[in-house]
Subunit: 134 residues, 2 copies
């Protein structure tokens, strides 16, 4: 049976990357791995890895993405939690069969080869949940 291994990352949507880095990197002292432009998601992402899971700060770079609209409506804050699974196809099949509402019924492949899919917050205690198979 497919299973969840760990929290891979917590994604935080931000409106001012420098101000956010002042907190997460400079004040808490979490080492910044890199800040990367992700054109496919119309955003800039700062990766701050910890021993197990990672903090990701995501700032929209255009006003027309879903993330930009989320930010405009709700303000900065936690956006989604990403869980690492050992078998994403098996997990999606299982969730579908159990009546869980999926945003992506099939796993998608990111530029770096990771396979991912999102579960709808309606089925997940109001939380946007991403599944990752690394």
């Amino acid at each position: 049976m497919p299973h969840v291994k760990n929290i891979n990352h917590v994604a935080i949507v931000v409106d001012d990357m420098e101000k956010s880095l002042h907190f997460w990197r400079d004040s808490l002292g979490i080492p910044l791995h890199e800040v990367r432009d992700v054109p496919a998601e119309k955003s800039q992402v700062a990766f701050l890895p910890l021993a197990g899971a990672e903090i990701e700060l995501v700032q929209p770079t255009t006003p027309d993405s879903g993330l930009a609209k989320y930010l405009a409506k709700r303000g900065a804050g936690m956006h989604h939690v990403c869980l690492e699974v050992d078998d994403i196809d098996g997990m999606l099949a299982e969730l579908k069969q159990k009546g869980i509402r999926l945003i992506n019924e099939e796993a998608r492949t990111a530029a770096d080869g990771k396979r991912y899919a999102f579960i709808h917050p309606e089925s997940a205690s109001g939380v946007l949940v991403e599944l990752y198979q690394v």
Copy 2:
């Protein structure tokens, strides 16, 4: 210098524990460690540990707590992220000195002996951040 070790847990505020467990435990298959009443926080908490960090589902048990009001206003969803630190007193002193707004200026002690403090979302990209020293 005090430092952040890992994400200890992600806390999710829920309005229907059974429905939430149907997703996190029964559909995702994350083992439930226990459901505990926490009278001091007027809530019931379900602990779902993963390899590194933990998912915590928190349901208010009275309508008058801060958490109950948060739930009534914003609905179910992510409530806070908890970071494990090696020296909570040193970290709080450091944050205060850097102008970070703290909810608890001094660490408090939970019933199980863990020491914790909350950082105000205003200083933390809109995220309620808990610090833990286990």
